[in-house]
């Protein structure tokens, strides 16, 4: 790669605190992904706005459990004097619901993500890691350089990457997207679904267009993060799996 960080202070490999926080966050994200998917299976419909349910139109319906398009509903009862055309219908179908453990495990993992993420951001800020290794320099942000890095990746003409910083341009942009956009959005949209937290801070739900919109965004960012994980693992594999894993665990650069 033509772009090497010019910083002379960069020690090769990953700092110990980066390695530890990386694996705690990785474990949390893996747990959150599995339990989040389990929670989604209980109600695989996504909406836009404040409220949405089986009796209102969905934005997206996902064929991921037997709750998809189920027909176990009684005949609609007479409407209410108040509420226009609002109806109430009795559900007669026993749905698949594993949310008892999935929800609790989801929030346990979320605590680990939030606490470790905060430690990472603080340490990254004060150690200079974020500024030095993650945020692209102004001189790097050129369309030509981005095009070059992109075509190098697509044609797999990448030079053997060092284990750890300095990172390439695409690599920096991707990590910044995950650290500053993806994961914070997951936390915020997650909090925007909580009835206690939105009672205290209604703007949290409002900024996403309502609790159900926040849930839909939560799902979309989950998909984006899973794509990142796939590409990230592929790049680790392509650039020397053993070497990269050793660098991120034992921390011995080669």
């Amino acid at each position: 790669m033509s772009l090497k960080s010019s910083s002379a202070t960069t020690r090769p490999g990953h700092a110990r605190w980066v390695r530890v926080t990386h694996w705690v966050v990785a474990t949390s994200v893996l747990t959150l992904a599995i339990t989040g998917f389990t929670i989604l299976m209980a109600h695989p419909r996504l909406y836009w706005g404040a409220a949405g349910n089986d009796l209102t139109p969905a934005l997206i319906e996902l064929p991921i459990s037997r709750n998809y398009h189920h027909a176990g509903w009684a005949v609609s009862t007479p409407s209410f004097p108040v509420g226009g055309r609002a109806q109430s219908v009795v559900r007669t179908y026993d749905i698949l619901n594993e949310n008892s453990w999935a929800r609790s495990l989801h929030f346990l993992a979320a605590w680990f993500l939030v606490v470790t993420g905060a430690i990472y951001l603080l340490a990254g800020l004060f150690s200079g890691h974020l500024r030095r290794d993650l945020v692209p320099r102004p001189a790097e942000l050129r369309a030509r350089l981005l095009r070059e890095d992109l075509s190098a990746h697509l044609s797999r003409r990448m030079p053997s990457a060092p284990a750890g910083p300095p990172y390439g341009l695409l690599q920096k942009l991707t990590y910044c997207g995950v650290v500053f956009l993806g994961l914070p959005l997951m936390v915020l949209t997650g909090l925007a679904m909580s009835p206690a937290i939105t009672a205290a801070y209604p703007f949290l739900a409002g900024m996403f267009g309502g609790t159900q919109s926040a849930r839909t965004i939560h799902f979309c960012v989950f998909v984006a993060l899973m794509l990142f994980v796939i590409v990230h693992l592929a790049m680790v594999g392509l650039s020397g799996f053993k070497r990269q894993m050793r660098a991120m665990t034992l921390g011995k650069p080669t």
Binding site: W23, V24, A26, T27, I39, L40, A42, H43, R45, A50, A51, G52, N53, D54, L55, T56, W73, T77, F80, P81, V82, G83, G84, R85, A86, Q87, S88, V89, V90, R91, D94, I95, N97, N99, S100, W101, R103, S104, F107, L108, W111, F112, L191, M193, S194, P195, A196, I197, T198, A199, A200, P202, A205, T211, R215, L233, G237, F241, M245, T249
Partner: protein, 256 residues
Amino acid sequence: MKTEHVITSRRTLITGLASSGGLLLAACSETQPPTYGNVLRMADNFTYRAQRLLLPRQSLAREYDRRDITSIPAIGTTDPADPHQGAYNEKNGLIYQQLRSAQFADWRLRIEGSVSRPGSFSLGDLQRFPARTQITKHTCEEGWSAIAEWTGVPLRSVLEAAGTRPSARFVSFYAFDDAAESIDMLDALHPQTILAYGMNGRDLPIAHGAPLRLRVERQLGYKSLKFLHRIVVTDRFEDLGKLSEPRNGWAWYVGI
């Protein structure tokens, strides 16, 4: 790759859990929900303590306009007299059937425990209290939500009428189906916590908990117990046995 990842992660997880578990255990007391030594219940209690510590205590859930009211599914027990439903209780199911056939004229809500004036209220008694009507969002743990108008008596008024003792910390609710719930005093005295007998301008429908249901607006839907017949005020956290969420694998506090 997979193995190495898993081993490293698991080690990190165990170390992390052990340390935070110790913290949680130290913080536990008998005025807290039991954890049964379960890591998931410890995390639930941690969330409960964190929310009680960090969130403003008297914030109100958003209230909507009548034009925001949506359709609302009726799930869980929708008829306590139906023996085919999951949480059917034979004795209470028969009582419920009789009460319902008399339009709940003989129904009474008992209130007892840590109160100076234990007793019971008829539906008429409760309707003579100043009523509160609120259009709020019902958020189900399954992932859906619905907006409806609820009319009822603030739980606070009923607790004051019964004379809650200063030592009281929790309020437990018992229903005609085999269900029970409890909330802490902060939620119990919250202005939007009501005992609802009306919904969307009519009497509370059977499927939504007639004649009386609880509304706890800052927690998920399953705390808003339907088909109430008894309230017990307690000084300590009361494990509601096989009826309780902690034992059934569900979080007791669901502000998130």
